[in-house]
């Protein structure tokens, strides 16, 4: 990515300032701005970390420490869609291992990997707190509940 591509728009920069002003210390806006950065640039690369650090007057090392602590920030390019299957207790009891095996077989990749065509990143994740509808997964922004292999097929087919 070139340096010039790594810029928020003027509107986004105004939003960054607005967010920073909402916190007693502007650093409080770091997670919201990192969410914005990931939406804009696709993932949070070292270059993005350095750019965001500059917006806060923080060291890139601090931002790196934060980015690497949280699971929702991607340091590498991710697929156009993220399929995150819960494998915690209630989902496990409801058949999450079968769901994970099914997704693995359908996509031909392991949890943590992205399909070669860049379509889907597949993850096994901890409790998403929708245990009443186990087994479940998060597909991008949506919770997909009461999964069966057939339902998984329909969901995967719908992801372009």
């Amino acid at each position: 990515m070139t340096a010039s591509a790594l810029q928020f728009s003027a509107e986004q920069l105004a939003e960054v300032r607005r967010l920073q002003e909402r916190y007693p210390d502007r650093r409080g806006a770091l997670l919201p701005v990192l969410h914005m950065a990931q939406e804009t640039f696709g993932h949070v690369s070292l270059e993005v970390e350095a750019y965001v650090a500059g917006l806060f007057g923080l060291s890139p090392a601090h931002v790196h420490e934060v980015v690497t602590f949280y699971t929702l920030f991607f340091q590498q390019p991710r697929g156009r869609h993220v399929v995150a299957v819960c494998h915690n207790l209630s989902c496990h009891l409801a058949g999450a291992p079968d769901i994970l095996a099914h997704v693995k077989a359908r996509l031909g990749i392991e949890p943590g990997d992205t399909t070669e065509d860049g379509r889907i990143t597949f993850q096994a994740v901890e409790c998403l707190c929708a245990c009443e509808a186990a087994p479940m997964a998060q597909v991008d922004d949506r919770y997909e509940l009461n999964l069966t292999p057939e339902k998984v097929d329909r969901i995967l087919e719908g992801l372009r």
Binding site: R27, Y70, T71, N88, S90, C129, C131, E132
Partner: protein
């Protein structure tokens, strides 16, 4: 079924809107609270016997009273909506179905602790609840409920269970990795951004409007001697009707399982996790326990976040422990050595046992590691892991041993 207090609006169409909330008495408690002195509000909540519903069960009124009286700077109210305890999903329902109940609870709490700024920390994965709640905040601003001496910032987390721990949450809110802080000082003295801060759970604050509206005595009378009110029990696992069930805190575990349709699969109960993943497991013989803070504590477990996970005869206890041990290994923040190291090694050992390559003395090694680390770390995360490590092995040792080689 007993009266619904927290879920009173859940079945109404558009229950999340200000109009529907108001139609059914919403914000009347806030109107009443505005005429009362902060100290009177704190006293009312004390008298109600409301205890924190996020996990620790600390008396809410007492917590509020810890804000230093002579403090002249800002005081912050922080809502812990970082729901993440395995087996818990109640706060998601409140955020989506009755967000104004939380906003009204925040307004009252803010008056009680003299706060002009509140933060709502919502776990990053909760995208829909975050949108729903943010919409309600906008409505409340437009209606002049917010922005008249009290402002609310909705803050999204980014995926880390430890941020549900109140000082980890504060670190995260400050733009850092979510490392818990050494206490004391407690947040009420020195919390977010170095100022006195009260951190309350979503459901806890949703209890506040009914308490102020209908009185502390009424709320206290719903519960047991040491805990007032009803609460929302998340029931999942091997039951016929998993879901969130509101009941007085005097309900027993047996009654809750019946409310959720009884045991599914084999229909025979083996064990129950009574209060979220970090609670010690109970056997089928131990389910006549009262589901309040003290009832579970006396039974050697904890009510925690009231996430009830039911295991029937066909469920494997070693597998259940492996799943939870994997969770603790993944979510340990890495700050304290006993937690960082033990959670990783214990997961490997339980995994090895489940794979059929374990040794019986692995079980004693796990118990030894668990006991040595308990109470030695900055926050309660590792103690929460120790509950399952010890109880699953002690109560179901023969099931683990049957999988071991020697």
């Amino acid at each position: 079924m007993a009266e619904r207090v927290l879920m009173r609006n859940f079945d109404r169409a558009d229950s999340h809107t200000l109009a529907v909330y108001r139609q059914h008495g919403g914000y009347a408690a806030w109107e009443k609270a505005r005429t009362l002195e902060p100290a009177a509000l704190v006293e009312e909540v004390k008298q109600s016997n409301l205890r924190g519903l996020g996990g620790a069960g600390f008396p809410t009124g007492a917590k509020w009273s810890f804000i230093p009286k002579n403090h002249t700077g800002p005081v912050y109210l922080v809502v812990n909506a970082d729901e993440g305890e395995p087996g818990t999903f109640k706060d998601r329902y409140l955020l989506e179905k009755d967000p104004h109940a939380l906003i009204e609870g925040m307004l009252i709490a803010a008056r009680a602790i003299r706060s002009a700024l509140g933060f709502v920390y919502i776990r990053g994965e909760y995208v829909q609840p975050w949108r729903r709640f943010s919409g309600a905040v906008t409505e409340a601003y437009d209606a002049g409920l917010l922005g008249q001496g009290f402002d609310v910032v909705v803050h999204r987390g980014a995926g880390a269970y430890i941020c549900g721990e109140e000082t980890g949450l504060i670190s995260s809110l400050e733009g850092k990795k979510g490392w818990p802080k050494v206490k004391p000082p407690f947040p009420a003295i020195k919390g977010a951004f170095g100022q006195p801060t009260i951190v309350n759970n979503v459901e806890t604050l949703a209890c506040v409007p009914p308490i102020i509206g209908r009185g502390a005595a009424w709320f206290a009378g719903l519960g047991t001697k040491t805990q007032g009110g009803t609460r929302m029990y998340s029931v999942s696992g091997r039951v016929r009707k998993p879901g969130v069930y509101e009941a007085p805190v005097s309900v027993t575990l047996r009654q809750l399982i019946e409310l959720a349709g009884g045991v599914s699969h084999t229909g025979r109960l083996k064990a129950v996790v009574p209060g979220g993943g970090s609670a010690a497991i109970l056997t089928a013989d131990e389910i006549d326990v009262v589901m309040d803070v003290d009832g579970l504590r006396n039974a050697g477990s904890m009510i925690g976040s009231a996430g009830v996970v039911v295991l029937d005869e066909s469920a494997s206890i070693p597998e259940a422990l492996m799943v939870l041990a994997r969770f603790y290994a993944h979510e340990s923040c890495g700050q304290c050595t006993p937690c960082r190291e033990s959670t990783g090694w214990i997961y490997k050992m339980v995994h090895r046992i489940v794979d059929g390559h374990g040794r019986k003395d692995d079980l004693d090694t796990i118990l030894d590691l668990a006991r040595r680390g308990a109470g030695t770390t900055i926050c309660a995360f590792y103690d929460g892991a120790v509950g399952p490590y010890i109880s699953y092995i002690q109560k179901f040792r023969s099931e683990f041993e049957a999988l071991c080689r020697a």
